[in-house]
């Protein structure tokens, strides 16, 4: 295929205008040593039908599994209305709205995204998105370090392992120490004697094992030590659970994929990032505000730009430039599609199905809940056999059984994390339970 419009007549005319004889002359000034000799060792271009066939062949190497896995990414219903609006070409093929006069659509959509993120989290200000849930956690840690001039972070072991690993990767370079706090009976035990004082206390709500944490303990552990309380939340539980902003949390973050985003193997998702008013000047990334134009008309613009890397360079609050605007717009459209009652209904159905499933799973010999704490729509069980064996066997029958916890939480033994959404039917749940019973019996 070729997406360039040049005819050979065009090329001839353009070359003559710039005073060159051939295309090769365009690169005549490059040092000989760096030039590619001959062709790249790559396949030749193909036609669009051949391309469609090649991509289809790759797609067919994936299995279509009924999804009971979560861990931050969930298989919720994605309405065609939401997806088709989100994929409007004006949103998809525009750049960052640095020129507000021709970017009012994206700017207003992001302003409304910020507003709705604040509505569900109870926070004062949200930015226009960061990369993903883990990236949001990293940015939150950086805000806390800058705000407190401290370099210790307290993190619950029940914050997702991949989130903790991402924070650790970057913390090392800046000499930030991560102190992990243990899980007792499913929830975090904040060890008062841990090394500190911390810049931040990071808790997940619900936590990675599905348990509902006490906001009070986490916020108290933070605020009594002059630290910021950071909460990683599951946005689809916010119609049921207390908003982090009402619980005294300083920075609320989330992986926003469950809201209006497809799974796409875990990316692109979107990092929701919301703070209390006092932290607005430390926000990473872009922020949309309102003003008026030269005729007094309402206009949306990127604001507090002096925080950002293209202005502040090495003193910027973050290095983030490209973010996840398109996914953020998807979050907003989905939240507007759901409204207050739809958000609560998704949470309610997911939670009810989780209870239905957990009650029946634990009738299987050797299957138990991994902890006694209350949960919403995700829960951990322990199995009498290795989770990997169960996951592989069930995948062969068309079911993604969950996430193997044995490497990240060895203290649980054969831990398996199971997530429910409103999409899982009673029939699918019953089939899962029957299959698991069989797999365990034959293991």
């Amino acid at each position: 295929m070729d997406f360039t419009p040049h005819t050979s007549a065009d090329i001839g005319e353009m070359l003559s205008r710039v005073g060159l004889a051939s295309i090769a002359d365009l690169f005549g000034h490059l040092p000989e040593r760096v030039r590619v000799v001959g062709d790249l060792d790559l396949p030749a271009g193909i036609s669009e039908p051949e391309l469609v066939a090649a991509i289809t062949a790759l797609a067919e190497r994936n299995d279509d599994l009924v999804c009971f896995a979560g861990g931050g990414h969930y298989d919720h219903y994605l309405p065609p209305t939401v997806r088709s609006l989100n994929m409007r070409t004006e949103f998809v093929t525009s750049y960052t709205p640095y020129q507000p006069e021709v970017s009012q659509g994206v700017l207003q959509a992001l302003f409304e995204y910020q507003s709705m993120v604040c509505a569900i989290t109870g926070m004062d200000v949200a930015n226009a998105s960061v990369y993903d849930g883990a990236g949001a956690a990293l940015e939150a840690v950086n805000v806390a370090v800058a705000a407190t001039h401290r370099n210790v972070i307290w993190v619950s072991e029940a914050v997702g392992p991949q989130v903790r690993q991402t924070i650790a990767t970057f913390a090392h370079a800046r000499g930030i120490a991560i102190v992990e706090h243990p899980i007792v009976a499913g929830v975090t035990h904040w060890n008062p004697d841990a090394v500190g004082p911390p810049a931040a206390v990071v808790v997940a709500q619900p936590n990675y094992l599905g348990a509902i944490e006490s906001y009070g303990s986490a916020v108290e552990a933070a605020h009594t030590r002059g630290a910021l309380a950071i909460a990683v939340v599951d946005p689809m539980t916010l119609g049921l659970l207390r908003a982090p902003g009402e619980a005294g949390v300083d920075i609320a973050i989330a992986e926003g994929q469950p809201l209006g985003g497809p799974l796409t193997f875990g990316g692109p998702g979107v990092g929701l990032f919301a703070v209390t008013e006092g932290l607005v000047r430390r926000l990473p990334g872009r922020l949309v505000g309102t003003t008026t134009d030269d005729n007094g008309r309402l206009a949306y613009v990127l604001t507090l730009r002096a925080r950002e890397q293209d202005i502040r360079r090495e003193k910027a609050s973050s290095n983030i430039c490209t973010n996840q605007s398109l996914n953020a717009i998807g979050v907003a459209i989905q939240l507007a599609w759901l409204g207050p009652d739809g958000l609560t209904e998704v949470g309610r159905q997911s939670a009810q199905k989780a209870r239905y499933m957990a009650a029946r799973l634990t009738t299987i010999d050797g299957v138990e809940l991994a902890h006694p704490a209350a949960y919403v729509r995700e829960f951990a069980i322990t199995l009498p056999v290795a989770p990997a064996v169960v996951i592989d066997a069930m995948a062969k029958e068309g079911i993604l059984a969950g996430i193997d916890l044995s490497a990240d939480y060895p203290e649980l033994g054969n831990g398996l994390l199971i997530a429910l959404t409103e999409q899982r039917t009673k029939e699918e749940i019953d089939a899962y339970i029957a299959l698991l019973r069989e797999v365990i019996a034959h293991a």
Partner: protein, 497 residues
């Protein structure tokens, strides 16, 4: 009268009234949602930390929702509407077949925790895209975890740190040219290093003698864009890399301008050790109003053990598996990076193949060279070396003679139906206008764009007031940005306070 070749000027944004917010449209009791009734027996949910009351989200009908977002989309310029010569951003056409690939249910509905055996297609996508990238850049292996260019930069810096630490060395400084993108110094700070600026010479290239003076055993590496941010190929690149290597440092390629050199020159042959690519620039994935992008990082053999992981690899039976590199710096993304963006990029690379990718760069450079020639005269060209895929013009002379600034020019260009070029960057050029037409614009489009620019330059002398007042053919005119920061209103909630 319609012209052959069509028009890439677009003014779909003229007129139209302000679109209210969803909150203003909302009426209690309206709804768009539709969910299947609960099909399991309901029990009482006894939840701690239970919410009280309803979440303050808007309540709208499905048609309200559709009208709202469709109207918003009408208030936005886009590549699919017209020419977007935004320098450094590579606003090329984003092929629709790549959208189709990313929406394929077998990829779209794939959970990141899917076991390897059921995700062979996805792992194959990553491996195949890696093969393309490594061949284009002259590197050995790549990670697709970094979700954007800036994240790729930071990943590159962590790789440098890991490399030096592995040798038992601690180094503190990273060298960056004064014309670098702002993400470079910001990433350096986050990477725990100090940014040291390398001056450019009067030809717009790295000042090699100054570089020699700055290099010492504290230098962990150098970050460089090539072609540089002035659109010029660093003629002394091999020497520059040698100087840094001799001091024990590594050389990092900021791939923002990779669109100029595919199949023409490889960063690996120039002496670079680490290369990030912006899939949302060079590989035609859409910018999405600011993202998502993807910033994969490719490295030479010596750095492969440090790459973020896990990486996909084929075992003896040809089954693809996740493998953690021996001395990996760890994860830089919660899952596998922006996979959907990688899939789009692979679709694009497969469509074009090695020959097509080279053609992309040849025509990107030809277009820039042609546009530069057309506007020469009224616009200054401060660094008059042959440009690559973009060039930096300046309105310095125009400003002196007429008072019209680069900002006035780009706002007037919007009235002609074109997106603005990048303004006031790089910082080392006064009244900078950075233009990157990309290979997907036609000669006719560049003729029209140049005519618009030349006519604006003429009008600068005859009707400066009109240019100061531009744009007028857009949904809003120039906003008062200072007031936005002074009277901060960043959610609709603040209206209730």
């Amino acid at each position: 009268m319609p012209k052959p070749g069509g028009s890439a000027a677009s003014s779909p944004l003229v007129g139209g009234s302000e679109e209210p917010t969803l909150k203003e449209i909302s009426i209690p009791g309206r709804r768009a949602w539709s969910l299947t009734p609960l099909d399991v027996p309901e029990i009482e949910l006894d939840l701690p930390e239970k919410s009280e009351g309803r979440v303050a989200l808007p309540e709208v009908s499905e048609h309200d929702l559709v009208m709202h977002y469709t109207r918003l989309s009408h208030r936005n310029f886009a590549v699919d509407l017209g020419a977007y010569p935004l320098g450094s951003c590579t606003m090329k056409y984003n092929p629709k077949v790549c959208d189709w690939a990313a929406e394929h249910p077998a990829f779209r509905d794939l959970h990141p925790a899917t076991p390897e055996s059921s995700a062979q297609g996805a792992l194959a996508v990553l491996l195949e895209a890696e093969r393309f990238l490594c061949e284009i850049t002259g590197m050995d292996r790549a990670t697709f975890q970094p979700p954007a260019g800036a994240s790729g930069e930071l990943t590159g810096l962590l790789l440098m740190r890991a490399y030096h630490e592995d040798k038992g060395e601690e180094r503190s400084k990273i060298l960056i040219p004064d014309a670098a993108h702002g993400t470079n110094p910001a990433s350096v700070t986050l990477g725990g290093y100090e940014a040291v600026e390398v001056p450019s010479n009067d030809r717009g290239m790295v000042d090699v003698e100054a570089l020699r003076g700055l290099v010492d055993d504290q230098v962990a590496g150098l970050m460089l864009t090539n072609p540089n941010t002035l659109g010029l190929f660093e003629e002394n690149i091999v020497e520059i890399a040698d100087i840094v290597h001799e001091a024990g440092g590594l050389v990092y390629y900021d791939g923002a301008n990779l669109n100029a050199i595919m199949g023409v020159a490889k960063p690996g042959s120039m002496g670079f050790d680490i290369v990030h690519s912006n899939l949302h620039k060079t590989f035609a994935t859409p910018h999405g109003g600011g993202g998502p992008g993807a910033g994969p990082v490719a490295v030479h053999d010596v750095l492969v053990p440090f790459l973020p992981g896990p990486l996909p690899e084929a075992d003896e039976e040809g089954v693809l598996r996740w493998v953690m590199p021996a001395k990996s710096i760890g994860r830089v993304h919660g899952k596998h990076g922006n996979f959907g963006v990688v899939l789009r990029a692979l679709t694009y690379m497969k469509a074009l193949g090695g020959d097509g990718l080279r053609r992309v760069s040849e025509r990107a450079v030809l277009n820039a060279r042609y546009l530069e020639e057309l506007i020469r005269g009224p616009y200054d060209l401060p660094y008059d070396s042959p440009c690559m895929h973009e060039f930096v013009a300046s309105a310095k002379t125009l400003k002196k003679s007429t008072g019209i600034r680069a900002m006035d020019i780009v706002k007037a260009l919007m009235d002609e139906g074109f997106h603005a070029p990048t303004v006031y960057f790089p910082l080392i050029v006064d009244e900078a206008l950075m233009m990157e037409p990309t290979e997907t614009q036609s000669m006719q489009t560049m003729d029209a764009l140049a005519n618009a620019l030349l006519s604006i330059a003429d009008r600068a002398a005859t009707e400066p007031d009109a240019l100061h007042a531009a744009p007028v053919n857009t949904p809003v005119g120039r906003p008062d940005e200072a007031s936005a920061a002074r009277h901060l209103r960043v959610t609709w909630r603040s209206d209730d306070d």
